[in-house]
């Protein structure tokens, strides 16, 4: 297996209905990319013989848990890793069944690219629309449509073109403030391998790349340099554990943008100005820290900075600092929402007491637009626009501007459970 080392891994979320052949596609991708080992193949062959199947059931590669094997469905997000000559991939395999939308939300929150499966015979279903809507809501930039089972429609270009048309129609009807998506449509057969790793001779009318070729070139979020500079403080470090002559260091991970020694910054929510004295890692001082880097920042001035504070570039667009917050929520817990109940909002490294003030509208994934809620509470898998009020001001970006510092968790203050995934407006 080749060992690429230069590019950051591409994170992909895969979504599709139970019957779209998603597990088979992932199995095919891993098999044809030679990412399955002999004992995994032996397991597939063993099951094939025991059950008397004509071919290896590639879906078994990803369907790991016992309940899945019994029910034949994927019930949780499964993570897969593989590499090609040019890149490493992290696949988050999200389930397609309707009550598990929360897992699609989870997978999409990590993804640079969403791979959405559509059955060429059935076209866009409500499930496909839901997955597409979630991918857009979660701000996944790369939307890749794997039009599967092309062998079942005799590799007809018309079936492919119809689905492509209905996807673009649906996308244009979605009412969400998000950057333009990077769309790709690939006609394939997971069962037979057409256009999955190699290009198929059975789709002469298609001139694009195979699925794997497309993924090898797709950009990751960290490559986009237009994001504002953001550094949520995780903790304060001092050499020797106490107060020292070196002063306080602020440990954290650059959420977006770049920080350099000498940069002027602001510390939010207090809005104190400061200058970066140095940027350090365990190996010593470095000149700059880019998005994703875990470092320690030291400031020239002694400020009362601690966990939960957000250090931002003084020249960048500033986040909102407010107690009132309008946001889109994906409700991920079986307990329904309650107005005024004791909740917590976790933004970056900051946790603040908060309450749900109003459910403004609920999203109808069939049409992609927000509709009236009639005062109803939110329950598992609901997607809605809400208004929240925090006990103290929080610094938060619009999710459309910055995914890391524009996202938040809504927690139950009593149980500690995660109730909803939030994206600030």
């Amino acid at each position: 297996m080749p060992v690429p080392n230069m590019l950051p891994p591409l994170r992909c979320a895969t979504a599709g209905s139970v019957d779209d052949g998603k597990s088979t596609l992932i199995g095919r991708l891993l098999l044809d990319a030679k990412a399955l080992y002999t004992d995994q193949l032996a397991h597939l062959d063993d099951v094939r013989h025991r059950r008397g199947l004509a071919e290896r059931d590639l879906a078994l590669v990803t369907d790991g848990l016992r309940a899945e094997r019994e029910q034949g469905i994927t019930i949780d997000v499964a993570w897969r890793y593989f590499a090609t000559a040019t890149r490493r991939f992290i696949l988050a395999d999200a389930p397609g069944h309707v009550q598990y939308t929360r897992n699609m939300v989870t997978a999409a929150s990590h993804a640079d690219v969403a791979i959405i499966l559509v059955d060429a015979r059935r076209g866009m279903t409500e499930q496909s629309r839901r997955h597409l809507f979630v991918a857009r809501l979660l701000g996944v930039r790369g939307l890749t449509f794997a039009i599967n089972k092309m062998d079942q429609v005799d590799f007809a270009s018309a079936a492919f073109a119809d689905i492509r048309g209905s996807v673009t129609d649906y996308l244009s009807s979605i009412d969400l403030p998000r950057a333009a998506a990077e769309l790709a449509f690939i006609p394939l057969s997971a069962l037979h391998g057409d256009n999955v790793v190699g290009r198929s001779s059975r789709t002469p009318w298609y001139e694009g790349p195979s699925l794997l070729e497309h993924l090898e070139r797709a950009p990751v979020d960290a490559d986009r340099s237009d994001a504002p500079s953001r550094f949520p403080v995780q903790c304060v470090l001092r050499a020797g554990g106490g107060v020292s002559a070196d002063g306080r260091g602020y440990a954290g991970r650059v959420a977006s943008g770049t920080f350099r020694a000498g940069d002027t910054v602001r510390v939010l929510p207090a809005d104190a100005p400061a200058t970066i004295l140095s940027i350090e890692t365990a190996d010593g001082v470095i000149d700059e820290a880019r998005a994703g880097a875990s470092v320690v920042l030291k400031l020239t001035t002694e400020l009362d900075v601690g966990r939960g504070d957000l250090i931002v570039g003084a020249l960048d667009k500033l986040p909102r600092v407010d107690t009132d917050l309008t946001a889109d929520l994906a409700w991920v817990h079986k307990t329904e929402s309650r107005l005024g109940a004791p909740y917590l909002v976790k933004v970056g490294t900051r946790e603040v007491r908060a309450s749900l003030e109003a459910v403004l509208s609920a999203y109808d994934v069939a049409s992609g637009v927000a509709g009236d809620t009639d005062g109803r509470s939110l329950s598992l898998n609901d997607l809605a626009r809400v208004r929240l009020r925090a006990r103290e001001p929080v610094a938060i970006d619009a999710y459309a501007d910055a995914r890391t510092t524009g996202s938040f968790l809504l927690l139950d203050a009593t149980s500690g459970d995660t109730l909803a995934a939030g994206m600030a407006r």
Binding site: P4, D39, G64, D76, W79, T106, R253, I286, V332
Partner: protein
């Protein structure tokens, strides 16, 4: 030491972030340190996460008493060189106290007994977080576990009722009696671990590298001949040149024939490996399709 590039830097940054988040929000964290390569890596990442401050996390080994002597010697030497104290939770003590019954027979292994010793130690020291070196690429059941996993009093894992992990926003809240199992290197593959160890020049127990050893064949694997394993008729001992890809008990960890005596040779070997890490060398995972899943439900790491 040079900065890392590409995917190794991304994996290191992510792991450091996770470790800091958990330690900053919990009271009594512990790193489970077996002296295996994955736990060596987790300990190293934790030291980096808080440099230049001292490590604010305890270090504990759940010792079955059936470990390779080379590994125990490395464990003590490694922690002494880092100036870190070690707690040992002993399966033998659990047996002596009557908490568990020792396994018997030619295939006896204390592997499953570790769960009880671990939970007793967590309760005794009131640890609320246990860091471990599990990775998602090891096994089909681990592929679905979270980076941060909430366990109940019995250490049980419920794959149907896991907290969703959204973005990099870690929810570390727990109720009384619960604790967290945290796996900062979830996204490392076996090859990533070895490349990272090479890039950071980390020491490992000698048995990871090729050496000459008395072994016998069982179930298509090679086991070290030791006082902890009863050989059956026909399981004859032979001297072979081997190394170990994983380090667990002598009773359940198999060797592979290998002449890879340096880290470069090991990486070359793994890059061309055709059998997954656990499939090659762990008898405990071969017990059935769902072997790992069953043990995790019972509180295994």
């Amino acid at each position: 030491m040079a900065a890392l590039t590409g995917h190794l830097a991304a994996l290191e940054d992510e792991a450091i972030f996770t470790i800091r988040e958990v330690v900053a929000t919990r009271e009594r964290p512990v790193i489970l340190f077996s002296a295996g390569k994955d736990s060596v890596l987790v300990l190293h990442l934790a030291l980096r996460a808080f440099h230049p401050a001292p490590l604010p996390v305890a270090v504990m080994h759940v010792d079955t008493g059936h470990n390779f002597p080379e590994v125990i010697a490395f464990r003590d030497r490694h922690l002494a060189s880092l100036g870190l104290p070690l707690r040992v939770a002993s399966v033998q003590t659990s047996i002596d106290r009557g908490r568990v019954t020792d396994a018997a027979g030619p295939r006896a292994s204390r592997n499953a007994l570790q769960s009880v010793t671990l939970l007793d130690a967590i309760a005794e020291h009131r640890f609320d977080v246990a860091f471990g070196g599990a990775r998602r690429d090891e096994d089909r059941a681990r592929a679905k576990e979270r980076t941060i996993s909430v366990r109940d009093e019995l250490g049980q894992w419920d794959p149907r009722n896991q907290r969703p992990e959204l973005w990099a926003l870690h929810n570390t809240r727990i109720r009384s009696g619960q604790h967290l199992r945290v796996f900062p290197i979830s996204n490392f593959t076996e090859l990533d671990v070895w490349e990272y160890i090479r890039a950071r020049d980390l020491d490992l127990p000698s048995i990871y590298y090729s050496h000459s050893r008395e072994v016998f064949a069982r179930d298509g694997m090679l086991y070290a001949d030791s006082a902890f394993v009863t050989r059956s008729r026909g399981e004859d001992v032979a001297r072979e040149t081997v190394r170990f890809r994983t380090v667990g008990d002598m009773t359940c960890t198999g060797a592979v024939r290998s002449s890879a005596g340096t880290i470069d040779a090991v990486i070359d070997e793994i890059a061309r490996a055709i059998v997954t890490e656990r499939g090659a060398t762990r008898a405990d995972d071969r017990a059935g399709d769902a072997a790992m899943e069953d043990r995790k439900r019972e509180g295994y790491f």
